[in-house]
């Protein structure tokens, strides 16, 4: 039964890839003008389903009906013509091209340049997303880049707007702006299919939610009347235990950074300016910030990839600024970088090989320069077991694992080496709720056992959950670290903007 309120009705959509069924008999409906959430763990089949709706994937079985008409887009341009637009998780933008050129590429019949530039200004202002048509996309911030995608969709008057993880790179203030835009769109009758891991956001903005697990629809709910915890448990079909932080008394100071300034390594890099902070034993220091404000540069300095003046970084009272990553590992400074594929792990090598790469020294896996393969395999398997990495075995290539599983392996590989200091960059980026909870628990446990942890993250909820103290980095400067207890989201927002909430309060 189709009511006239239904915009898109999906019936029995099934799509199988060799070895996996990505979608199995998926049915649900999206009403006109509603904000509909699609929930599920990594690998639950959300992206396949969305790609089906957007015409990038042809389903093996099942039908879709859009506004009373049979809808089977063979390619994205057919979907766009039918009024379905999509904002991608990993922005589908072209850095070397201008805003206007990027937008023209996403349209079926773009108007003349000058007309298009005017339309971009009009639409972007009407929805509170100011945007200049002639700037190069490569020079824009993450929030502005997303605006380009949204404006590109809006220029085509979509009836259904698909948003895949839209807030993962935004500041809280930018999220507010986005939500205002989405509410405005929905009040004008545009339906929105909203995919996110952040359950609080879904509760704030979505009217209904469909939950997927292993490619099947396992339930639906009204997010505003369901707790985030209940939704998470529906997604994983298990009880979820949120990591609990027991604030202890911090021990002796173990790492300190003093007067660290560093020019930008490239045109697109960020210079670090006068950074100073310290971390104590048993403490987790959270460093927030919007991507591209110097996190990667700071991480490289702490891990030893970028060397500095010896005194800029001291560890246990000894200057380590000139030591490389290998020498730092020897004295107990370990790190897990953000980029899983290519930085933290070599995608085409097995988990065993990847385990060897950072653990050889501390776990004595290559005595006398000869690799002890049995030992390496044993260590990889220990990590896989302890961190519940779902993989056929240690021989699997790192690139074949899902993001969440590889992240558990990459963090686990360092945690199991019993570091004195662990630096992690975006520990749970793009990781589903269950895996994220696992990783956070491991970090908390590590600190309770006496290690110092520095967690660089864009996820403010995560920082609040695990940190003892929180600071933020903005345009290469760091704000004064403050105890996590008692910080509000508003304080954090100010910190991300490079301001000190206490000084603001006084002023």
């Amino acid at each position: 039964m189709t009511s006239t309120d239904d915009l898109l009705v999906i019936e029995g959509v099934t799509k199988a890839y060799p070895g996996v069924v990505a979608n199995s008999d998926v049915s649900f409906r999206i009403r006109k003008g509603e904000v509909h959430a699609l929930l599920g763990e990594n690998g639950a089949g959300k992206s396949t389903l969305v790609k089906t709706i957007y015409g990038l994937v042809t389903p093996d079985a099942g039908t879709m009906v859009l506004d009373g008409l049979r809808y089977a887009p063979s390619e994205p341009s057919a979907a766009r013509q039918a009024g379905v637009a999509m904002v991608f998780q990993h922005f589908s933008l072209f850095d070397a091209l201008t805003v206007a050129e990027n937008i023209a590429l996403g349209m079926e019949t773009p108007p003349k340049r000058r007309v298009l530039a005017r339309q971009i200004r009009e639409v972007s202002e009407a929805y509170g997303l100011p945007l200049s048509p002639h700037r190069r996309v490569g020079d824009l911030s993450a929030g502005e880049r997303q605006r380009v995608e949204i404006v590109r969709c809006l220029l085509q008057d979509p009836r259904l707007l698909i948003m895949d993880e839209p807030t993962s790179v935004l500041t809280p203030q930018e999220v507010e702006i986005l939500f205002r835009t989405l509410r405005q769109l929905s009040s004008e009758g545009t339906a929105i299919l909203y995919i996110s891991h952040k359950l609080d956001e879904i509760r704030a903005i979505c009217d209904t939610a469909t939950i997927l697990r292993h490619g099947k629809v396992v339930g639906d709910c009204v997010p505003s009347q369901t707790s985030a915890r209940d939704m998470a448990e529906m997604m994983v079909a298990a009880k979820l235990d949120t990591p609990v932080k027991h604030p202890g008394t911090p021990g002796a100071e173990v790492l300190s950074v003093d007067g660290l300034s560093l020019p930008a390594a490239s045109q697109f890099g960020t210079a670090l300016k006068e950074i100073g902070f310290s971390v104590a034993k048993g403490e987790i220091l959270g460093i927030g910030g919007v991507a591209g404000n110097g996190q990667d540069e700071l991480f490289a300095v702490l891990s030893g990839e970028t060397r500095t003046a010896p005194d800029a970084v001291t560890f246990d009272g000894r200057p380590v600024g000139r030591l490389g990553p290998h020498e730092r590992r020897a004295i107990g400074i370990l790190s897990a970088p953000e980029e899983r594929l290519g930085h933290a792990a070599a995608p085409d090598m097995s988990l065993t090989d990847n385990a060897l790469m950072t653990a050889a020294l501390r776990m004595k896996l290559a005595p006398g320069g000869w690799i002890d393969w049995a030992g390496v395999k044993g260590y990889a398997e220990t990590v896989i077991k302890a961190f519940d990495v779902r993989t056929p075995g240690a021989h699997t290539a790192a690139g074949a694992l899902s993001g969440g599983n590889l992240q558990k392996f990459v963090v686990g590989r360092e945690v199991m080496q019993a570091p004195q200091l662990l630096i992690v960059n975006q520990p749970t980026w793009g990781v589903d709720a269950a895996a994220a909870a696992h990783i956070r628990k491991a970090l908390i446990k590590l600190a309770e056992d006496g290690a110092a942890v520095i967690a660089i993250s864009q996820d403010l909820d995560e920082l609040m959950e695990i940190s003892d103290r929180i600071t933020a980095i903005c345009d290469g400067r760091m704000v004064r670290p403050r105890p996590a207890q008692g910080l509000t989201m508003n304080d954090l927002g100010l910190m991300l903007g490079g301001r000190d909430p206490e000084e603001e309060a006084v002023a």
Partner: protein, 305 residues
Amino acid sequence: MDISLINLIPLLMAASTPILLAGLGELVVEKSGVLNLGVEGMMITGAITGFMAAVATGSPTLGFLGGAAGGAALALVFGALTQGLMSNQVATGLALTLFGLGLSALLGQAFVGLKPPVTPDLPIPGLSQLPVIGPMFFDHDLMVYFSLFAVAAVWAFLRYSRPGLILRAVGENHAAAHALGYKVTRIRLMAILFGGAMAGLGGAYLSLVRVPQWTEGMTAGAGWIALALVVFAAWRPFPLLIGAYLFGGITVLQLNMQAAGVNVPVELLSMSPYLVTILVLVVMSAAGAAAGAPGSLGRPFHASR
């Protein structure tokens, strides 16, 4: 001594035309995200197929068409291997050069020592009568005009046309272009064919106008110079034109100096076009470095996931 601008400029325009044509083709190929190192092979194949067509038909025009077809045919092999079978672009391009050199030597066995039909000069009525400027710029054969027209056409195509925008988008980020529904492989194949045809034209210009006869290996590295020019010109057509003319100019100048018996070692003179071109282009590309290489250059693309 015969070194004056009036004499030099027409010579340098003719000397530069082969690398300009080939470089322009490769520029479009690389803008689409494909690195075809087989320019030398496609040029020499165009040189012999063009020569064969011209000798067989007696028409230089059909000869140039034959050269373009030969270059494009070899490019099609490259396209099928790299776009269809996902072979490595660098290795395939190098193999294409070696293959082209061998194939052209085989095809050309019966053509050594023959004279091709003469390609006539086409003085532009009126303009070519102008004093000084006339003989310098407006008294050339068709291909010289065509190469200049092609520079402007490629520039306008890439900058102002929608297909040009799509081509740049494919080269910049093929995954995003695919997500928007553009046919990455098809667009790249067409660019590869265009690049092959242009390299073939450049080769045919060598064997039909510059030399004009067929000798084995007659391109003598012109394809590699064209490749280097594309990089140093930062993938922009007009700097490519400057680079090609600079190279051609110094080649002509040093030949004239050698002939005039200037007191500089011959080896140094022979080296000079390469040295000066690279120096000038390095300075140019350092100044305009912001443009940079196409984001997906040389990376293979799989639509499946």
